[in-house]
């Protein structure tokens, strides 16, 4: 790394500038006003870094590099153009690709260096390939569940956690042995193969509602494995980019866990679905009040302040564009409409914001939980679309509830609550929601998209 030629120095300068651009890129993501500048900075940094690398004196053959770069672009462009509703699975898939790259490079580096590998080098190589391979299969599994190629329901069996942890322990044990005895190269496939299996088993017990945490955690692993690769290749740029990505994933995972009042280990080893069985087994025979689109439209039109609470159900029903029509119709009548968004609404952090922004709803109307909760007592109507557990007051006042302690959107404090729901079936966590049985609650039974559409038609008719 201390080559004296001008080209090598030029490459180092390019890496230095790229590093600064990467940090600026993330800094500019702090606000929607500067965020697109952040993307430009990231692109420029990447161009400098890749361009600089291509000048590297050690490169003697460009043929396969060119072929691979072209193929990467051919695959990458369609992956950048997927529908907004497919963003969670696309994100999981890109974690998998990133981890694949890191694992393959780590494997190649090992066989190039073996058997003469220093202890430190072997330790970081092991970290690189273990994290990389478990992230690869784990992310593929997550993408499969999100795309619904695989069952979304958590699959659990007795002794699952013991099996999983034992597998991981074996992989780490082999890695430790290799650190001291790197000449046993035949063992190396074990620290790639076992984590590959572990990645699959790790995601099997995870249900759809836990996806935001899991995607964030996989994001963090992908970043850390890239940082480990930076140690192996002695590349400061790679260490920094990996550390930034790892930190980002970590912060998001902590946010998501907090928003569910659960620890990481509980998400990964808790098998949420099982826990809920007890909560769901208490059947509620209480009556609910239901309303027609016409009645709902009348109440909404008479309101001053409406808060819409979207959830995954809105995404499933593709209702965001109808919601936008409702927003327009109410805003035209002078009703103040805001959106209250729970951190874990949807399948990944910020999922709802992207869908609503796509439907052209201004982002200053999209408020997160802490910002909106103080508003509910002054809100005339809280309209819940496809969200359940994140509005469940049991989390606040029923210590026996499985979700007790989870921060929620206080829709029950609004004057009227309307809930659009297909039927009285329980939500993903399988927990009954007492909000549905309140006197001030109106249940609007039906498909979210057609129901919101019907309300919009009523509002339009009433105006004429």
């Amino acid at each position: 790394m201390t080559a004296g030629t001008g080209t090598e120095q030029l490459i180092e300068v390019a890496y230095l500038v790229a590093t600064a651009l990467f940090i600026l890129s993330l800094k500019w993501m702090s606000s929607p006003a500067t965020a697109r500048r952040g993307v430009r900075a990231g692109e420029l940094g990447m161009l400098l870094a890749v361009g600089g690398t291509l000048l590297h004196h050690g490169i003697v053959d460009y043929k396969w590099i060119a072929v691979a770069l072209v193929l990467g672009v051919i695959i990458g462009v369609p992956l950048g153009r997927v529908q907004m509703t497919a963003v969670p699975q696309r994100t999981a898939l890109s974690h998998a690709f990133g981890a694949l790259c890191v694992t393959l490079v780590g494997t190649a580096e090992f066989y190039l260096r073996a058997p003469d590998v220093s202890r430190f080098m072997m330790a970081v190589l092991s970290a690189e390939v273990i994290l990389g391979s478990l992230t690869f299969t784990g992310s593929l599994m997550a993408a499969g569940k999100l795309q619904e190629v695989l069952p979304q329901r958590p699959i659990t069996y007795k002794g699952q956690n013991v099996v999983n942890l034992a597998l991981l322990a074996v992989a780490i044990g082999v890695a430790v042995y290799l650190v001291f005895r790197p000449e046993h190269t035949r063992l190396f496939p074990a620290i790639v193969g076992i984590p590959l299996v572990f990645g699959v088993l790790m995601i099997i017990p995870i249900g759809g509602a836990d996806m935001p945490t899991v995607i964030s955690l996989l994001n963090s692993y992908a970043g850390l494995s890239a940082a480990a690769m930076g140690f192996v290749l002695d590349s400061k740029l790679l260490i920094i980019a990996g550390a930034l990505d790892g930190a980002s994933g970590f912060i998001l995972s902590v946010n998501m866990s907090k928003a569910m009042n659960r620890s990481f280990s509980n998400v990964l080893f808790g098998a949420f679905g099982q826990e809920q069985a007890a909560g769901a087994s208490a059947p509620q025979a209480r009556s609910v009040r239901s309303a027609t689109p016409e009645e709902a439209a009348t109440i909404l039109a008479a309101a001053n302040k409406v808060v819409i609470v979207p959830g995954y159900g809105m995404a499933v029903a593709q209702a965001q564009h109808k919601v936008r029509e409702l927003y327009d119709a109410l805003t035209r009548r002078g009703v103040d409409v805001k959106f209250g968004i729970h951190p874990v609404a949807g399948r990944m952090p910020g999922h709802m914001n992207v869908l609503l922004a796509e439907a052209d709803i201004p982002y200053d109307k999209l408020l997160d939980m802490d910002e909106i909760n103080g508003d509910f007592p002054q809100t005339d109507v809280a309209l819940v679309i496809g969200a359940n557990d994140v509005t469940n007051p049991s989390a606040r006042n029923d210590a026996a509830s499985p979700i007790y302690g989870m921060p929620i959107l206080d829709v029950d404090r609004a004057r009227t609550v309307m809930v659009i729901k297909r039927s009285m079936a329980a939500g993903f966590a399988g927990i009954d929601n007492p909000v549905y049985y309140l006197d001030k609650t109106l249940m609007l039974f039906g498909d979210a998209r057609s129901f919101v559409g019907a309300i919009v038609r009523e509002l339009a008719g009433g105006q004429g």
Binding site: I75, T91, D245
Partner: protein
């Protein structure tokens, strides 16, 4: 070598702190584009794969490296494209700027 390791650890630690401070300030509004952007930046791993393939040290390293470049490049391109598409959609209700 010892010194290099220590320097690398310092770099990692400082970058992690910067990451925490910078990313904590990102609005929850933008958490999805944030994740796709960091994904694209993470594709910088492609530089390691490029050198690996270019040095042509063994058949194995060329094959693995080539696949690695494909995977990382598709992240790089796809990540930037989708992040920009998402961010383009975020607009304020204030007066429209040119």
């Amino acid at each position: 070598m010892k010194l290099d390791l220590l320097t690398s650890l310092y770099v990692f630690m400082l970058a992690a702190f910067i990451g925490f401070e910078v990313i904590r300030r990102v609005s929850p509004l933008l958490h999805t584009p944030l994740m796709s952007l960091t994904n694209a930046l993470d594709a910088i791993a492609v530089i390691g794969a490029i050198i690996l393939v270019g040095e042509r040290k063994s058949a194995l390293s060329t094959v693995l490296g080539t696949i690695a470049i494909v995977a990382a490049t598709s992240n790089l391109v796809g990540g930037f494209v989708i992040t920009d598409r998402m961010l383009k959609m975020f607009r304020s209700s204030g007066p429209k700027k040119p």
